[in-house]
């Protein structure tokens, strides 16, 4: 710390101008005329009430045009496609409101308006989403100044509460191994569990240790406590399981030096273990993981609008910005987003770097995932209610849209449940909640759904495949429904912070029946509805009734398909390995006890051991004890190991017990490499149709498994 005081201070000059984005981009009058004309034209498109034939022609025309646009898609055409998608959907919603709401009973009216309200919500989120992702910024890192004296001092905060040391120590090791002048870097373990084991460990490795007598305000309180006891210019935050790479600060701090009003540089949360969806649905490396949309697209899109928000971890924050808003926000259970919002309101900027510079463990089980999302949802809705970004002061248009959408997103539970169950109103209760003919409905809803699907598949294709949104949201909807609604009505109610637990193991396959009870009930209801519909079809009804039955059957079948896929998430599959194994190809050298040595490439590596492909295949069979040399940053390190298997030029080893120093080196070799997570395989882009068949396969897999299990039980 003392070194900082002697260093020349001007890391960045404080700007004289007010913090607001001073130069608002001026739009020329010509543009304004074009915009006004276009808005009038789109309004006409939205309100034109066409009959079946006219609407069918219009629908075919717009859908065909969209397909042509997609073929030649570039940034301009994607903007036009998004506008078209919103316009066509607005047209649908306008038609729904004005022409399909002639309800004939109070019950019908109630259900009908609930459905319509859900559709309006979906359209709002769709439109906001297009704005949010209109121009992903693809920001690149800014090099650090050559003069190291200009580099700001950095504290690294690693808050922990109840996680085992075995997890936290990797993070501490890696944080301490980051490439940065030793005198400007201090790692702090913020232990809210007040555990002696942690204190001893920190002392032994030379890491700062901060704890406090109480746990007031949970994580936010913990961080605020640490803020008061440290003094560096910047603070890097890592959740206790997020292991940073060595280059983390080199890549992120540059922007903070260049821009004085920049408060946060956020990087993605990368997970090297499969999340419950990936593991239980067996889709790892085939379908982008759930968080990929947010960190790959949304945050990058937010960055364009200066609305990237702080996510609590894997980020660097300017202390001055935090101080200016009185530290971390404590009013809500998602302190990170709320803190970011406050900083944005105070005129600070944020930036996003879509480079994975830290990695962690995904939530192990679906139940934990649900608990985590419940907290996020509650927190975001709390902010929405207590500190509404759409109407509060100090934000730009883009920031309002991005923040509002981030929060409105978490209201998905009710609409999602409504969409799932809507066809049952007709199939089981024989209530028409959309008062129109089936053909007209297809003609109007068809282009609305088609544009939404195709445009989103193009915009999000790399980050989320079609229909997976339905699965991710549906899996949570039933559990989020009541907490989110309660929070929306009474934002201050409910329990406080719950810590997402990580690092546990699933030691055998099991089906989480308790958690998935609502899903099972809905599945049964959907099947009942489909059976009702088929029976009514057979009953001999006129063609216009048949068409309504058909639409509702198709809808219910889609709902059922999504529900079956969701049920698979609750089928927890066994996890075997305690230390996570990383597939990496690193140059190594194997030393035999007899002095011989050979070059080798790692096939995979974990803290327990690894597999190597030997350059000299003959040497593999000759020893049971070896020493392995691995590159650890600028230097190489030697690790004693025992041979546990091999042959055919492959050598499998298990590391001998390591000293703390050796362990730190090994962690940095495995997890701390600067390029550790770049080029991670998220799965190829998949078209909507292929994505649909995959969802179908996943769902049918659940049915198959259920049938097999039943057979097994009978035997």
């Amino acid at each position: 710390m003392s070194a900082v005081a002697e260093a020349p201070q001007p890391i960045t000059r404080e700007p004289e101008t007010p913090p607001r984005e001073a130069r608002r981009s001026r739009v020329s009058p010509g543009f304004i005329v074009i915009i006004l004309l276009s808005v009038v034209m789109l309004a006409l498109v939205a309100i034109a009430p066409m009959g079946l034939e006219e609407q069918a022609l219009f629908a075919i025309g717009t859908c065909a045009t969209l397909l042509v646009m997609r073929r030649f898609a570039n940034r301009y055409l994607v903007l036009a496609m998004s506008l078209m998608s919103v316009a066509v959907s607005m047209r649908y919603i306008f038609w729904r409101i004005t022409q399909t709401t002639d309800f004939q009973s109070p019950l019908e009216g109630f259900l009908g308006w609930v459905l319509l309200g859900s559709e309006i919500y979906a359209l709002l989120v769709l439109a906001f989403g297009y704005v949010q992702t209109a121009w992903p910024l693809h920001r690149r890192p800014v090099p650090m100044p050559d003069d190291v004296r200009l580099w700001p001092t950095v504290d690294v905060f690693i808050p922990t509460f109840n996680e085992p040391l075995s997890i936290v120590r990797d993070t501490i090791f890696s944080a301490m191994s980051m490439d940065y002048p030793r005198d400007k870097l201090k790692v702090w373990c913020l232990d809210d569990g007040r555990r002696a084991e942690f204190r001893r460990f920190c002392e032994s490795v030379g890491c700062g240790y901060i704890s406090r007598p109480d746990n007031k305000h949970a994580k936010a309180g913990n961080l605020n406590n640490a803020l008061q006891r440290t003094h560096s210019d910047l603070i890097a935050f890592f959740d206790c399981d997020h292991v940073p790479t060595r280059s983390f600060l080199q890549m992120t701090v540059g922007w903070l030096i260049r821009e004085a009003r920049l408060a946060v540089v956020q990087t993605p949360h990368h997970f090297y273990s499969p999340d419950p969806f990936e593991r239980n649905l067996k889709i790892e490396h085939q379908v982008p993981p759930e968080g990929r949309l947010f960190y790959g697209l949304v945050q990058d899109g937010n960055d364009f609008w200066n609305a990237t928000f702080f996510c609590g971890s894997c980020a660097v924050v300017r202390r001055k910005a935090l101080d200016s808003i009185g530290g971390f926000a404590t009013e809500t259970v998602t302190e990170d987003a709320h803190t970011a919002l406050k900083m944005h309101r105070a005129g600070w900027n944020s930036a996003y770097l879509d480079i994975p510079l830290a990695a962690g463990l995904a939530t192990e089980r679906f139940a934990i995932h649900v608990g985590q999302r419940m907290r996020w949802a509650r927190g975001m809705i709390q902010i929405f209610r207590l500190d509404n970004p759409m109407f509060g002061r100090g934000l730009s248009f883009g920031q309002r849209v991005c923040y509002t959408n981030a929060m409105a997103h978490f209201l998905f539970a009710l609409p999602r449940v409504v969409f799932l169950l809507a066809p049952l109103a007709y199939l089981i209760l024989n209530i028409n909640i959309i008062r129109t003919s089936a053909f007209l409905l297809v003609a109007y809803a068809g282009p609305h759904l088609f544009h939404t699907l195709i445009t989103n598949a193009y915009v999000q294709g790399k980050y989320r495949h079609s229909f997976w949104n339905e699965i991710y949201e549906t899996s949570l909807a039933f559990h989020l429904l009541i907490p989110t609604m309660r929070t929306l009505v009474a934002p201050r109610s409910g329990s406080g912070f719950n810590v997402t637990s990580k690092g546990g193991l699933v030691d055998k396959d099991y089906f989480d029946t308790k958690l998935l009870r609502p899903h099972i009930v809905v599945c049964v209801a959907l099947v009942a509805g489909i059976v009702c519909g088929i029976l009514r079809w057979w009953w001999g009804v006129p063609i216009d009734v048949k068409s309504v039955i058909l639409i509702n059957l198709a809808w219910a079948t889609f709902s059922l398909m999504v529900m079956l896929a969701v049920l698979s998430v609750g089928r927890e599959r066994r996890q075997v390995r305690r230390s996570v194994r990383i597939d990496a190809e690193l140059p190594a050298t194997i030393f035999l006890p007899d002095g011989r040595q050979t070059g080798a490439w790692t096939l995979n590596l974990s803290k327990g051991g690894g597999a190597f492909r030997l350059e000299d295949a003959t040497l593999g069979d000759h020893a049971d004890k070896v020493v392995v040399r691995l590159p650890c940053g600028s230097q190489d390190a030697l690790f004693p190991a025992t041979v546990v298997g091999g042959g055919g030029g492959i050598l499998r080893i298990s590391f001998a017990p390591l000293t703390l120093e050796e362990e730190q080196l090994l962690v940095s070799a495995i997890l701390g490499r600067g390029d550790a997570w770049t080029g991670w395989e998220y799965g190829p882009i998949e078209g909507p149709f292929r994505s649909l068949t995959r969802v179908l396969r996943v769902g049918l897999g659940t049915v198959g498994a259920a049938v097999r299990r039943r057979d097994g039980a009978e035997k």
Partner: protein, 755 residues
């Protein structure tokens, strides 16, 4: 009392000794296979003063049940063994003999002791033994004492010998059917009516005669347009009185035909056989037809055509304009022009209208568990804007008594307009599952406006299910009422419609009838008219009178050359292709070409074809089809053509035309035949006998007024191509703006320039 009056009338008739009776007669529809003897009325029936006369073998009139409104006859079954039919007598007739000609059939296994009891106005007139199997329809004649017939009569049938408790209607049990061709046969003498103007419209129109109103229009010579204006007034007057029965108004120049006739004479006109009094002003008179003792002449006289018009107006006005007696000077009072849509025959559209204004309480009531439909007939303007926003609310009150015999939860009120069911209302709120049955007595329902036409029939059918507590007495007393205080409200619906639309013309005389006094109507006649042309004209005018229920007195009649003087009116062109010069003159406008007395349709120009791309609603048909049809026969054709007036964009033209005057007349008469009317649609209707073809060939134009907002939506609603182009253009333009603006912003942000 009534019987006594009738007896008196009968004796009067006998005194008059009107020997030969050439009243309109025709033979019975279906001769009986085998006439069964009917059992004479039971002893309890009050004995008539004389036994009924033997029914004549010919010279009588048959009124079939179908004509009397029972179109499908009757089917009497267990639980519903009663039915009946109504019949009314012409006022100038004295009935000399009457009988019921019943055509009966029954089901297998019919009870052998079953009898059909027939009652007239509550008095039993006979019983027919209908027991045993009678699979073949059998005719039974039942004589009726004419003394029992009043002005309005009801014949009731009751099947005896089957269970009558209507709590247990058995649709599948034994049945007796009375065929709709069954008839009431009436032999009558016509009463000599005095030649007295005070009984007008008698004898020319009798409200109780279900036949067409027939009267010849006689002119001393080929009538001038001004004379035709006068004749037109009389024709609309007759039409308004004739109503649904229609008219037959042949014209005659210089000779008096048999039957009733209206004679127009001005100045020194003379007609053979009639002694015409010298008219010193507008005068009407009624006198005996010199060539037909059973006919009367109504003389419309004056010094000139203007006097004739005044006299005709007086006729139409009635009341104080004409004094009693055989001859009367006419002094009609002045009346103001009627505003558009203020049409007496149409449902008022300035306020909600109570059902009591449209039907009697009795017509709004049905009885029993198998009730007849409750029908409300009403006419409206045909041009209500029948689009998505329009709603025609019916505020319905209804009830059934006694409610205890009815399972309210399972019963419902079915509502239809013009034969199209559109809503069923439960008689009780809630269902068995959700709530106890609470009787439902009122509800507001919306008539789908597209089901509305100019002539409407609103039908209520109580679909009733008996309750477990149902008993015979309660069921017999069961009535279902649509409350007379229920309302229908057209006032929220604007007048706006796409034209041309000949269906509107055929069904409602639209657009001419918008002004009930025809003050916006001009008829363009050929320069030289034939009797067929005049008849077509008169019957068209009568059609307008029928549509409005009002005698229009302000129509103008002009020759083609003077059409410029009536440019502000809707034009009705009458005359064959060669005699109606405007058809040729306006062919640039209509695309209809007349060559060598034949009609041909010109192919659309390239520009018109381009315009048609944007005509999604009411797309125009292929002219080739029309020409093929026109050339498929050499026998000529009649044609009805509607298009926008070339003289005024807000006005319409309808041409009643054809290859020759006979076809012109035939076309105008198509408009009077109910069953052919439905085929008259779009804007070009061609007919050759029963082959009637409708085509859409003319450019569309809209008439009426709607709000700007509605107009905007209406105008773009049939333009899918334009809307799609708007969408693409707006997205392209906005996308380009966004691309440029966002691009600049992104560059600035990446340069860190937003400090």
């Amino acid at each position: 009392m009534r019987t006594a009056a009738l007896a008196l009338l009968l004796s009067l008739a006998a005194v008059a000794a009107w020997a030969q009776t050439p009243a309109p007669t025709h033979a019975p529809a279906a001769p009986a296979n085998e006439a069964t003897t009917a059992v004479p009325p039971a002893a309890s029936t009050p004995a008539p003063p004389a036994p009924p006369a033997q029914f004549p073998a010919s010279g009588y009139t048959s009124y079939s049940f179908k004509d009397l409104g029972a179109g499908s006859g009757f089917r009497l079954i267990e639980g519903a063994p009663e039915s009946g039919v109504s019949y009314s007598v012409r006022r100038d007739e004295v009935i000399t003999a009457a009988r019921l000609h019943l055509i009966l059939a029954n089901s297998a296994g019919f009870p052998s002791d079953a009898r059909l009891e027939v009652a007239l106005n509550g008095d039993q007139v006979g019983t027919v033994d209908v027991g045993g199997d009678r699979h073949e329809a059998t005719a039974v004649d039942l004589p009726i004492d004419p003394v029992l017939l009043g002005d309005y009569n009801r014949v009731n049938f009751k099947l005896l010998g089957v269970a009558a408790n209507s709590c247990r209607i058995n649709e599948n049990g034994p049945w007796l059917s009375i065929d709709p061709t069954s008839a009431i046969d009436i032999a009558s003498d016509r009463l000599p009516l005095a030649s007295d103007l005070s009984i007008l419209p008698l004898p020319f129109v009798d409200q109780r005669d279900p036949h067409k109103v027939a009267a010849s229009f006689v002119f001393a010579q080929n009538p001038s347009p001004a004379t035709l204006e006068a004749a037109g007034i009389v024709a609309t007057w007759l039409g308004s009185l004739a109503g649904y029965r229609g008219v037959q108004l042949p014209a005659s120049f210089g000779a008096i035909p048999p039957g009733n006739a209206i004679v127009f004479v001005a100045g020194n006109d003379s007609l053979p056989g009639v002694a015409l009094p010298q008219a010193v002003g507008p005068t009407v008179a009624v006198t005996q037809n010199p060539v037909d003792p059973s006919g009367k002449l109504l003389l419309v006289m004056g010094r000139d055509a203007a006097d004739l018009k005044t006299a005709a107006r007086g006729l139409a006005q009635g009341g104080g304009a004409i004094k009693p007696g055989a001859v009367s000077a006419v002094t009609p009072s002045d009346s103001a022009e009627r505003p558009p849509y203020d049409v007496p025959g149409w449902l008022p559209d300035t306020r909600p209208v109570k059902f009591s204004e449209l039907a009697s309480e009795d017509q709004l009531r049905s009885r029993g568990f198998r009730p007849d439909e409750v029908r409300i007939d009403f006419k409206t303007a045909p041009d209500y804007f029948n689009w998505i926003d329009t709603a025609i609310p019916l505020l319905l009150h209804f009830h059934v008594t006694p409610e205890r015999v009815v399972n309210l939860g399972a019963s419902q009120l079915d509502i239809a307009i013009n034969g199209n069911w559109f809503r069923s209302l439960p008689l009780a709120e809630g269902t068995a599952f959700l709530a106890p049955d609470i009787p439902n007595h009122e509800e507001t329902v919306n008539i789908p406006p597209y089901l509305l036409t100019g002539r409407n029939r609103l039908t209520f059918y109580f679909s009733m299910v008996p309750s477990p507590e149902c008993d015979a007495a309660g069921a017999a007393a069961l009535t279902e009422d649509v409350d007379p205080n229920s309302t229908i409200d057209m006032s929220q619906t604007p007048h706006y419609t796409a034209m041309p639309n000949l269906s509107f013309f055929a069904n409602a005389g639209f657009p001419f009838t918008r002004n009930a006094d025809l003050s916006r109507t001009a008829v363009v006649m050929p320069d030289t008219v034939t009797t067929d042309d005049v008849q077509a004209f008169l019957e068209s005018m009568a059609l307008f009178g029928e549509a409005t229920g009002y005698a229009g007195t302000r129509a103008a009649v002009v020759r083609a050359g003077d059409v410029g003087t009536v440019a502000g009116r809707d034009l009705l062109l009458i005359g064959s292709y060669t005699h109606q010069p405007l058809l040729g003159d306006w062919s640039y406008h209509t695309g209809l070409v007349i060559e060598g007395g034949e009609l041909r349709v010109a192919a659309p120009s390239t520009w018109e074809k381009f315009q048609m791309l944007f005509e999604w609603r009411n797309r125009r048909g292929d002219t080739g089809d029309v020409n093929d049809w026109l050339q498929s026969s050499t026998s000529g054709e009649g044609a009805l053509i509607g298009f926008q007036s070339p003289l005024n964009d807000d006005r319409s033209v309808v041409a009643v035309t054809g290859s020759d005057a006979a076809h012109v007349l035939q076309t105008s008469q198509t408009l009077q035949s109910g069953d052919q009317l439905a085929k008259v649609q779009d804007d070009v209707v061609l007919e050759r006998g029963n082959d009637i073809q409708s085509y859409r060939l003319m450019a569309r134009y809209d008439i009426g007024t709607i709000s700007r907002w509605t107009w905007l939506r209406w105008s773009i609603s049939d333009q899918p191509i334009v809307i799609a182009i708007l969408l693409f253009a707006a997205c392209a333009a906005l996308g380009a703006v966004a691309f440029v603006v966002l691009g600049v912003k992104a560059r600035r942000r990446l340069q860190g320039a937003n400090r």
